[in-house]
């Protein structure tokens, strides 16, 4: 995470005075895979949209986002739309909703290709569309350009959406819950495919999801958002083996496991507070197994600080917890 492809500095986003992203710092090197994880309402999708310059006009944004060395022209719609669909690609959850039912897949692909390369000939665009569909492993790709979205399964449509996101040869792909609507087998297939494509192209990926499990085999780094705050930035391997932040631990523990059957699942008590509702302390304090009622957690906002392993964690008690974990 040394930066240079994407550098987000002190990014804050508010809607009508409600702060949904608070002072986010995040860096991505070329080819990095970052999992951006949080519950609904954590601000994870807002962060994705901010990088894409897709926030609504009523959002007030401060801070900077630098991409490939230059500040992103946030607020300049024309300039942003050239980057979006070009050097930054975007894939989202609902493959069915992403395609107009009355246009062929070829026309959707042509649209994406022409956006990235306005002077391309029809014929070259069609060849390129077929090549992109082949890259996402749609068989008979040239012939299938003439088919309509309803003639494809959900998993295939998700792959076609990935193909259209690749039209501009992006250096960064932002994938917002790309597999949440899919079956387990299809989900695994789409992630494997994305894995191969990203490796082959050296493309960086930000995978936005509520499910830590999805991040497991796909991402190298993990950023956890809670209530608009970045609470933990670690490698996935370290987060899975020994999650330092109590919220990350809570998310991991809540997941049912294949290899054991507990009488009850461990849960994170309470609900995510509304954006901007947190007082002066740690936003997670009221739900925290470790810090609930602890004076410092209630009164002081924890800073995102580097620990000995090089991870960054915003928790007053994170050190205490690793000691507990070590003695067990």
């Amino acid at each position: 995470m040394t930066g240079s492809l994407l550098e987000i500095e002190r990014l804050s986003v508010s809607f009508g005075g409600l702060r949904v992203l608070d002072d986010i710092d995040l860096k991505l090197a070329p080819g990095d895979r970052l999992g951006l994880v949080g519950e609904s309402g954590s601000g994870k999708s807002t962060l994705g949209l901010a990088i894409l310059g897709l926030l609504v006009d009523t959002a007030s944004v401060s801070g900077t986002i630098r991409f490939a060395g230059a500040a992103l022209p946030i607020g300049d719609d024309r300039a942003m739309s050239a980057i979006r669909g070009g050097r930054i690609g975007f894939v989202y959850q609902d493959p069915m909703g992403g395609f107009s039912p009355i246009h062929t897949v070829g026309r959707h692909m042509h649209h994406a290709i022409a956006a990235a390369e306005p002077d391309i000939s029809r014929r070259a665009a069609r060849e390129r569309a077929a090549a992109l569909l082949a890259e996402v492993e749609i068989r008979d790709s040239a012939a299938r350009l003439d088919d309509y979205p309803h003639q494809f399964s959900g998993g295939m449509l998700q792959r076609i959406m990935i193909a259209s996101a690749l039209a501009g040869n992006p250096q960064l792909l932002i994938a917002d819950e790309p597999t949440t609507a899919l079956d387990a087998t299809t989900q695994a297939n789409v992630l494997r495919l994305l894995d191969r494509i990203a490796s082959a192209r050296g493309m960086a990926v930000i995978l936005i999801t509520h499910d830590l499990g999805v991040v497991g085999r796909f991402c190298g780094d993990l950023a956890v958002l809670y209530c608009g705050n970045l609470v933990s930035l670690t490698t996935v391997a370290r987060a899975m083996a020994n999650p330092v932040h109590p919220y990350t631990r809570g998310l991991l523990d809540a997941r049912p496991r294949l290899d054991e059957k507990p009488a009850r699942l461990r849960t994170i008590g309470g609900v995510l507070p509304r954006a901007g509702a947190a007082g002066g302390g740690c936003a997670f304090e009221p739900r925290c197994a470790l810090g609930r009622g602890v004076a410092i957690c209630r009164n002081e906002r924890p800073l995102l600080l580097a620990n000995r392993s090089g991870d960054r964690v915003a928790c007053h008690l994170a050190g205490a917890e690793s000691e507990v974990a070590a003695s067990c």
Partner: protein, 261 residues
């Protein structure tokens, strides 16, 4: 409690000019039974026929052939008028509680609606039932005045469960009840469903696609592939050491997204 015997469901395939081909079989000769106080899991992917089976078990859809027994009685051919008791005792909980809840109705009205439709219950008794159902799903009593859109996904699913409980059923048909929820909320709802089952001795038919969730919830699991049952057995065995190739594939896919797998 509930037996489905040799259930087949096929739909006519309509050609362009109304000429039918071979009918499409979405459920093919499936049998299983739900024991009192236990959870039977039907696991499959989209297109496996699991939701069609849920609708047949709820008697919302007629099977093409086969028999549905409820407490030993053949209810397959029963007219709606003879299904009143069955409808009270066998209740559904669906994946998308928001889709099942009328956005204009407040929680109290949503919850008492099944009782109003059944009729014959005094207002005060209905209010007592509503209060009890909210307690059962661990929501505050003042939620009666809330509108669905003011609720979180997890709270909406709790209302969906409360609504299923309002008629004091014996069986719940849980059709992907946590698939649309965040992992953290999913754990709360699964625990809640287990608590309710224990407290009330309910039987569950649990329909889903996630083997890890199924292992936690179910005593027995049956795996559906394209309308056919390909493997069944105790949950621990199916998830721990499946025999069938399709089940193995599902398990492998689940491991791929299992964080420690």
């Amino acid at each position: 409690m509930l037996n489905l015997i040799n259930i087949t469901k096929s739909y006519p395939r309509k050609g362009l000019f109304g000429r039918g081909g071979e009918p499409a079989r979405v459920v093919d000769d499936v049998s299983f039974s739900l024991q009192g106080g236990r959870t039977f899991g039907l696991i499959g992917e989209s297109g496996s026929g699991k939701s069609t089976l849920a609708r047949i078990a709820l008697r919302l859809v007629d099977p093409t052939s086969g028999t549905v027994l409820y407490r030993g009685e053949d209810i397959t051919g029963h007219a709606p008028s003879r299904l009143m008791a069955f409808r009270r005792e066998v209740q559904p909980v669906f994946q998308s509680a928001s889709g099942a809840l009328d956005p204009r109705m407040r929680v109290a009205a949503l919850l008492e609606q099944p009782l109003v439709i059944a009729g014959g219950m005094a207002r005060s008794e209905r209010e007592d039932r509503v209060a009890a159902a909210l307690r059962a799903v661990e929501l505050p009593a003042d939620f009666t005045t809330r509108l669905p859109r003011t609720l979180s996904g997890g709270q909406r699913q709790r209302i969906g469960i409360a609504r299923a409980l309002i008629t004091e059923p014996k069986v719940l048909i849980l059709d992907e009840p946590v698939s649309a929820l965040d992992v953290s909320v999913q754990a709360q709802i699964l625990n809640l469903l287990k608590d309710i089952q224990q407290a009330r001795g309910l039987s569950y038919l649990f329909i889903g696609h996630d083997l890890a969730v199924a292992r936690f919830m179910c005593d027995e699991i049956a795996v559906l592939e394209r309308g056919r049952l390909v493997e069944r057995g105790p949950a621990d065995q199916i998830v721990g050491s499946p025999d069938n190739a399709y089940t193995k594939g599902l398990l492998e896919a689940s491991r791929w997204s299992d964080h420690r797998g």
